[in-house]
């Protein structure tokens, strides 16, 4: 493509195939804890 460079094919869609094991870490957004945004959590089931 001349006008568009795709740098990511969409991790979200692929993740739907994951089992949703719900083993991943807890994430809090508030300023007083580790407060990560959910999007940087690591998946425990790669």
């Amino acid at each position: 493509m001349k006008h568009i460079k795709t740098i990511n094919m969409g991790a979200l869609k692929n993740s739907i195939a994951k089992p949703g094991c719900k083993e991943c870490a807890n994430s809090c957004q508030s300023a007083c804890k580790t407060s990560c945004t959910v999007a940087n959590l690591e998946c425990e089931n790669r």
């Binding site: 006008h3 795709t6 999007a39």
Partner: protein, 452 residues
């Protein structure tokens, strides 16, 4: 909203919201996208005829069309039904233990009202702590990974209980096959060799609070006599971080307020001290508080985030990068959709426990009787509330359903939503605006580093 586009660091970035695909596009595509869904090609040609040639516009149009057909642009949301049909049980598998409702500092922005959570100053007994460990193990059901966050007030004011809880948890781990991961959050004032050794050995993560530059920190993070803590805590934090060998987590974190809207300098000060894992986060306070962030501060705050993003790219290229927590988006992997829509899990996967053993949806709800879920000795008494929190995901938040950042943010902080809008389903708007800015920066950093 299916698509979000923005300009940053000289790039035109387009995010396909539902697939998570990210594209860098030229100006022609960027402009054509303004019309693509509303007008046909002939009208677009007319609209943009002064800017680009017919051929250019047609080419751009066709590339957009191709990506749309490939499921990389204007994708529909395929997750909703999967999520809404997920009626399986939920398990409490993460817990915040308020080891001490007391603190040796009185930081001016403390949500816990200087440590006591507006109640009596109190320390958690080892008995309550151990019972809480049992409670979370019993309630974690099939989940193997359990998290326990040692929190306060200042948990190191009650180090004895901390030690007993950890020891007990290690024993229970062996008996039950669970994997218990501890985190401790401390103001660092009480760290000494013994405590550091213990923390290093037993904590999966340690969160160390400092607000950045001395003049900033010492205005806010103060002792009862009004003196600042900077000179005391910086060497201790450094010593603690030095102990964390490769692979062991830590965070050096602070809060920015109206007093340091130039928080870029605080992040840089911490980076220059050699810390690699840094977080400086916006304070959340009601409007009338003198330290609160307000709508009119946003331009300055956004400028600071932009500057920070650029500097992070620079340093990364020079091989002296560091991580800024809120920019750490994993665009290639990250958690699955289930997690992305449900967020923090407060109130159904995650709870907070007071020194008396009372259970609340999270540390921010502690002390608000309406939100009491039960007690570690008698169990959960308010199942309805648990359901409310479980259903408090983005598909039940109309504002989030219109928001492009929903799969990165996952619906904001329930506690902030409640304290500003008296409803966990209505996002705290100032928070949303900052969140969206941070997600843009995070994606721009990734794009920039990949581009080169």
């Amino acid at each position: 909203m299916k698509l979000h586009k923005f300009k940053q660091m000289g790039m035109n970035i387009v995010i396909d919201v539902n697939s998570g695909a990210i594209h860098i596009v030229d100006d022609i595509v960027y402009d054509v996208l303004d019309y693509y869904k509303y007008k046909d090609l002939s009208e677009i040609l007319l609209n943009l005829k002064d800017k680009y040639t017919e051929e250019q516009i047609e080419e751009a149009y066709n590339e957009i069309k191709q990506l749309e057909e490939e499921g990389l642009l204007y994708t529909e949301d395929p997750y909703k039904n999967i999520i809404l049909n997920d009626n399986g049980p939920s398990y409490i598998k993460a817990m915040c233990l308020n080891i001490a409702h007391d603190c040796n500092l009185k930081c001016k922005y403390c949500f816990a009202s200087e440590g006591d959570y507006k109640g009596e100053r109190k320390l958690m007994s080892p008995e309550v702590g151990k019972r809480a460990v049992d409670f979370v193990i019993e309630n974690a059901g099939p989940r193997k990974n359990v998290e326990i966050d040692l929190f306060g007030g200042e948990p190191l004011m009650n180090f004895n209980t901390v030690k007993e809880i950890v020891e007990y948890a290690r024993k229970r781990e062996k008996e039950t096959g669970k994997n218990i991961r501890f985190t401790i959050t401390t103001n660092a004032t009480l760290l000494n060799d013994e405590k550091m050794e213990f923390i290093d050995e037993n904590m999966g993560n340690v969160v160390l609070s400092i607000d950045g530059r001395k003049e900033v920190n010492d205005k806010i993070r103060i002792r009862y006599d009004g003196t600042g803590t900077f000179d005391d805590i910086l060497p201790k934090i450094k010593a603690m971080v030095e102990k964390r060998k490769e692979g062991k987590q830590y965070y050096v974190r602070g809060t920015f307020t109206r007093e340091n809207l130039d928080f870029y300098n605080d992040v840089m000060m911490l980076a220059d001290e050699g810390f690699k894992e840094i977080s400086i986060e916006p304070v959340v306070l009601e409007d009338k508080h003198p330290l609160s962030l307000r709508e009119e501060d946003l331009d300055t705050i956004f400028e600071q985030y932009d500057k920070l993003a650029e500097e992070i790219v620079n340093r990364e290229k020079q091989g002296k990068g560091f991580k800024f927590y809120h920019f750490n988006i994993d665009v290639n992997g990250g958690p699955c959709v289930y997690k992305r829509i449900s967020g923090c899990g407060a109130g159904y996967e995650y709870v907070a426990v007071t020194p008396d053993g009372d259970i609340y949806p999270c540390h921010q709800f502690v002390g608000n009787e309406e939100f009491k879920l039960g007690n570690v000795f008698d169990g959960i008494s308010n199942d309805e509330l648990i359901k409310t929190f479980k259903n408090g995901h983005i598909y039940n938040k109309p504002k989030c359903m219109e928001c492009w950042a929903r799969f990165y943010c996952s619906g904001g902080c329930q506690a902030n939503n409640y304290s500003f809008n008296k409803d966990i389903h209505i996002p705290y708007e100032l928070g949303c605006k900052m969140m969206k800015k941070r997600v843009e920066c995070a994606i721009a950093i990734k794009a920039k580093l990949m581009e080169e």
